[in-house]
Amino acid sequence: MDFRWSEEQELLVQNLEELLHKEAPESLMAELDGKKEFPYKPWQALADHGILALGIPEEYGGVPADIQTLTLVCETLGEHALPLGIIYSLGIITIRDILQFGSEEIKREVLGGFVQGDPPVALGITEPQAGSDAAAMKTTATLDGEDVIFNGQKMYCTLSHQARYILLMTRDAQVENPYQGISMWLLPTDTPGLRFNYLNKVGWWTVPTYEVFIENVRMPRKNLVGGMNRGWQQLMANFEIERLALCAASLGAAKAAYQDAAAYANQRVQFGKPIGSYQAVQHMITDMAVHIENMQNYIYKVAWMMDQNLPVRYEHAMCKLYVARASFEVIDTAMQILGGLGYMMEHRVQRLWRDIRLMRIGGGSDEIMYNIAAPQLLKKASR
């Protein structure tokens, strides 16, 4: 096994780190968090330096990149400016869906805009009564000549007010099997009939989330992405990479918290000695490092498998389950080592702590990851 990065990957990460130091320093990210503002300027800097172009085909202004490289980008963003890693990860699923299933016109419009710095396309899937059970959704699409009319409500639609488009999932109630009755549409967010209600949340303050009310929203039928009633299968095709990207951003955040905690353990003197000289703190530091190493190995392995076109059906779910918990544990331990300082709003660890908690819920909760992995593990064992 070769765990070394390629020279190109090393240079990419090196340049990206330098870019983030300049365009997304901790002081700016803290300020934006306090103001609950989307990081438009750092996001544009990522576009200007070709980071958003990675993994998008050249004909749409992109630069080819494998999944391992995208993972490294997410990890680096997570380490230096977690919200950018989150936003980038959220974009991966919608961008890939459009790339895979969108018409040529949609691809040119959306991918071209993303590469230039548009915020990612938001994903409109969850509804008040349909969370993990997405098949229970009720938002409808009624065909009317060359148009389609939407009615319904979406919950937890992150970035929907900042994005130019929502990738909207609708349900055809006439189809008995819900998984055969879901369609995917590209809905411009300036379409009349849309109303956004800002939702306050514990973390992710620079990555705003909304409740979206959809009332008689009319749009051309040509904005259908992929096949009619094929939306569920299309959506599932790219959940794996979104989860992996979120894992990589979480790993980066854990590394940042570890660095803060380790530096503090060396520097903070209590009872005449640095706190890092006490066994209790040494154990915490070592446990954190072990978690980080494990997360890294798991993420890189799944990324490598995906690059080899190997199935990762249960591997990606187990990886997400492990990383969401381990990254939270690392950051929580960092806060413990930092003590009162880490709990202060001036310290980045409190922000990482608030932001990372959602990883156990968003992109598929821990419990759903068990639901994905366990049946396949048992099936494998029964062979």
Binding site: E8, L11, L12, N15, L54, V63, A65
Partner: protein, 258 residues
């Protein structure tokens, strides 16, 4: 306009290890492009982007400079071609010999309008090599240049920043110019440029190929060591701004600073 940019590849200053006796170890240091030279590369690339031509990078040093990652790093920042002159004897070469080697390479390349270098190397920072290259070539040679533009007559309009004044000069080509670090902020390479870098041409010359194999060293560097560490006083000054200012002045006088 064909431009040669001289870059020195050195151990990363951030990786240096300083011993208790002041000795400096580069053993564990990663080698990298000298930070003072990157603005020169940026200046060259911008001139070529605006006026056409190509940017050729020239590096001389020991085997460590023959590193494909560093080469890609250089070429991803806008250079078109890279020439390296690799020889163990260049590890501790003085500025005169390094300049002679670089000047020989410039002459061998021919058809060059401008040679750019940084204000000094990232390791010993003698600030000599760039101007010595110009002198050896017999070209107009200017250092401390903080701005370069091409005038309507094809000559360079140059701004030179000195301690007390700024000089505005016109220089005919060919010329050798050492630029200040603030001439331009070096660009960051995008993945597109990084991928392209691996396909750009690189060449390696020996000292013999340049006819400079037997040049004598004109200086001996006896020792390079870090200045002795001075323990910090760790004096905390409290009180109102006026009281604090008075206390600060008193401390500075006591230490002989004022």
């Amino acid at each position: 306009m064909n431009i040669i940019v001289c870059l020195k590849i050195t151990p990363d200053p951030e990786d240096l290890e300083v011993g208790r006796d002041g000795s400096i170890s580069t053993e564990r240091a990663e080698w990298t492009i000298g930070g003072f030279d990157l603005p020169a590369l940026e200046a060259g690339v911008r001139l070529v982007e605006a006026h056409g031509g190509k940017v050729i990078v020239l590096c001389a040093g020991p085997a460590e400079i023959n590193n494909s990652k560093i080469k890609k790093d250089i070429l991803s920042r806008g250079a078109d071609e890279l020439y390296t002159i690799v020889d163990e004897s260049l590890r501790h070469a003085g500025t005169a010999r390094t300049a002679a080697v670089l000047a020989a390479a410039v002459q061998k390349l021919g058809e060059v309008d401008l040679v750019l270098s940084g204000e000094g190397s990232a390791d010993l920072y003698f600030q000599q090599t760039g101007v010595q290259v110009g002198e050896r070539l017999g070209w107009m040679t200017i250092n401390a240049v903080s701005q370069i533009e091409v005038g309507a007559n094809g000559a360079l309009a140059i701004q030179r920043t000195l301690e007390q004044e700024i000089e505005l000069l016109e220089a005919a080509l060919p010329a050798a110019i050492a630029v200040t670090s603030d001439i331009h902020e070096p660009r960051l390479a995008s993945m597109r440029e990084i991928l392209k870098a691996g396909r750009k041409p690189t060449f390696e010359w020996s000292l013999a190929e340049l006819g400079v194999a037997d040049l004598p060293e004109t200086i001996d560097i006896l020792k390079v060591e870090a200045p002795p560490r001075v323990a910090r006083k760790q004096v905390m000054i409290e009180g109102s701004p006026e009281e604090a200012a008075k206390a600060l002045l008193s401390h500075l006088r006591k230490e002989g600073v004022l």
